[in-house]
């Protein structure tokens, strides 16, 4: 229980089309991440699934039932918001129990589920506190707990980590991953952070300007992106794109990831000067201004000493070079 089908969903706000026909199938127990730049429609799509926005056309089917006209509370979903959205006047316990109480669940059952969820998220010491007395990380755990107690068919996460600081973000990310493994529930997660997408997802949906660019597993998207947009969006630092004509290639654009370039001080394919070097310890990012390829990024594992102004030769790994046509699609 917990499958989702989105059939040709379109959404327009007045003349502005935000979703331009989305088709998607999510099977039971999958962790699906919607990722894309801001304004790509990923949050709107999540809201349409939740029922907080009506789609202009198309159907949303949860577990075989068309829920396009069902109010959010009756869809069997639970949602975790970016700003936590806890009820300020209720204690942690009542925050978690409110949805069940509204649905008329017996008090003993509510208590049992709150007990399970709060031990899972180590929230027991805070059950009688109000949200104002909790830290950001605790608040987000309460928000997740509120979703867990509902035992929904579908968990929806709307950029849940964006308001947390870097250290907490990594911890909470881990917690969400463990939660998914333990509950085996279907989860849909929206983020603009490709690291979150890569680390959490079974399946990533890359959206751009209201369209799905590609659907696939994290490694599938990394190794064989369907087009220039996906290639540039997945992976950090970003893939280098070089004008094919300047390299004497037939393809419109040549793409090569920073980690698939090697540098040598004596010889190589592209001669360039070091513009800037970022030393991160585990790896070093070099920005090279090349005669043929323009400004490119090279990622070298480990420490590499290079002063700005030095001359280096970069060589792409031919097996891991991508060729894109004029329409941005990958050329086989």
């Amino acid at each position: 229980m917990g499958s989702l089908n989105i059939e040709n969903v379109k959404k327009a706000f007045g003349p502005v089309e935000v979703l331009k026909g989305i088709n998607l199938e999510v099977t039971d127990g999958e962790f699906v991440v919607f990722v894309g730049p801001s304004g790509c429609g990923k949050s709107t799509l999540l809201r349409v699934i939740a029922g907080l926005e009506d789609s202009t056309s198309g159907r949303v089917v949860i577990d075989g039932d068309d829920v396009s006209a069902t109010p959010p509370a009756k869809r069997g979903i639970a949602m975790v918001f970016q700003t936590y959205a806890l009820y300020p006047h209720l204690t942690v316990k009542n925050n978690m129990g409110l949805g069940l109480k509204q649905a008329g669940t017996p008090a003993a059952e509510i208590d049992r589920r709150i007990g399970i969820a709060s031990s899972m998220l180590s929230l027991e010491p805070y059950l009688e506190r109000r949200p104002a007395e909790l830290s950001g990380g605790q608040r987000q755990r309460v928000a997740i707990g509120r979703a867990v107690v509902r035992e929904p068919k579908l968990f929806l996460f709307d950029e849940p980590l964006s308001n947390l600081d870097a250290a907490l973000r990594v911890n909470t990310r881990l917690e969400i991953a463990q939660l998914h493994r333990r509950l085996k529930a279907t989860m849909i997660y929206v983020t603009h952070d490709q690291v979150e997408a890569m680390t959490l997802a079974d399946k990533i949906v890359v959206l751009n300007a209201g369209r799905i660019e590609q659907i696939g597993g994290p490694m599938e998207l990394y190794n064989s992106p369907a087009n220039e947009f996906v290639a540039g969006f997945i992976g950090s630092p970003k893939m280098n794109f070089v004008d094919g004509a300047r390299l004497g290639e037939t393809a419109k654009t040549i793409g090569v990831r920073p980690e698939h370039l090697t540098v040598d001080p004596k010889s190589g394919a592209w001669k360039g000067t070091v513009v800037h070097a970022e030393h991160l310890g585990a790896d070093t990012n070099l920005y090279l201004d090349c005669e043929k390829a323009g400004l490119i990024t090279v990622r070298i594992f480990g420490v590499y000493d290079a002063e700005p102004g030095a001359t280096l030769y970069a060589t792409p790994d031919p097996a891991k070079t991508y060729r894109f046509g004029a329409d941005g699609k990958v050329l086989k």
Binding site: R47, L52, A73, M79, F81, Y87
Partner: protein
């Protein structure tokens, strides 16, 4: 503090300006209260001196309280003010919520229409209002006053509150919807508590003109039964003889309830401001 932001002449200058303004603002009020405790001869002989044992006299207060109806006038004022305030806040907040929360055709136009009353004084419509009240048999009732004051207060309330309602987190309202709360529950339980400071602002701005109004009580409800305090105080203002003791005492008493209401709301105001700052 660094010396750049705190120098002695500047501090003295700022305080001098503030103290002067405070003195100017408080002067008439203090004059009224001071003279209300003096005998008639004291008021006219030395209006600017505080009551001395020679001039101290409670005649004003005994006259006002002796005129048994005054308690009744107070009641009328209080009923009218509190009821109008209640309706202004309730309907104003509801309209503001609808305008800020729901997308519908003509939303902006409706907002402008509701705010139009800020620019057009309601007194321009006095004749029509009077005809309306006569036709509906509401002349000389408190209901008439409450209706008029509610109409008078709504535009500003809708205008201010809709700005504040827009700031309430959408996520919170949506969380409520997913938990199965009705729109009314979301409005009363989630949104209203969060805009309480702005409600207090609106309450203060709405309440004071209503309490002090002389115009509509005089025109719509001048009967003995429905007189408000401000209208009642006119009783002592004769064409030839004016009972200054009684007028000053009545005015001093009339300040009290409005002051108490103000203190209650302003505490809300301050609490709202600080809670927003620390969050």
């Amino acid at each position: 503090m660094s010396t750049a932001t705190r120098s002695l002449p500047r501090t003295i200058g700022a305080h001098a300006i503030l103290l002067t303004y405070t003195a100017i603002a408080l002067f008439p009020v203090i004059l009224v209260i001071m003279n209300s405790f003096k005998s008639r001869a004291g008021i006219f002989g030395a209006p600017l001196t505080p009551p001395t044992p020679g001039t101290f006299d409670l005649i004003g207060y005994t006259t006002v309280i002796g005129q048994g109806d005054f308690i009744h006038y107070f009641q009328n004022s209080l009923v009218v003010t509190v009821a109008s305030l209640f309706f202004v806040l309730l309907f104003g907040a509801m309209a503001a919520f609808a305008l800020s929360e729901y997308r519908f055709r003509g939303n902006t136009l409706m907002g402008l229409y509701l705010a139009l009353g800020i620019m057009i004084p309601i007194r321009l419509g006095t004749v029509a209002i009077l005809q309306l009240m006569v036709a509906s048999g509401l002349v000389n009732t408190l209901t008439a006053l409450i209706l008029v004051y509610t109409a008078q207060g709504l535009p500003l309330a809708v205008f201010i509150l809709s700005e504040f309602m827009k700031q309430v987190s959408d996520d919170l309202k949506n969380a409520g919807r997913i938990d199965g709360l009705s729109e009314y529950t979301i409005f009363f339980r989630l949104v209203l508590p969060l805009v309480r400071p702005s409600m207090a602002t609106v309450a203060v701005f709405t309440m004071i003109p209503i309490w002090n109004d002389l115009w509509f009580p005089l025109i719509l409800a001048p009967s003995e039964e429905t007189k408000t305090v401000t209208l009642g105080a006119q009783l002592f203002l004769g064409q030839f003889v004016t009972n200054w003791n009684a007028i000053l005492a009545a005015l001093s008493l009339a300040i009290m309830p409005v002051l108490i209401l103000y203190v209650i709301f302003s505490r809300q105001l301050i609490r709202g401001i600080t809670s927003g700052a620390v969050k």
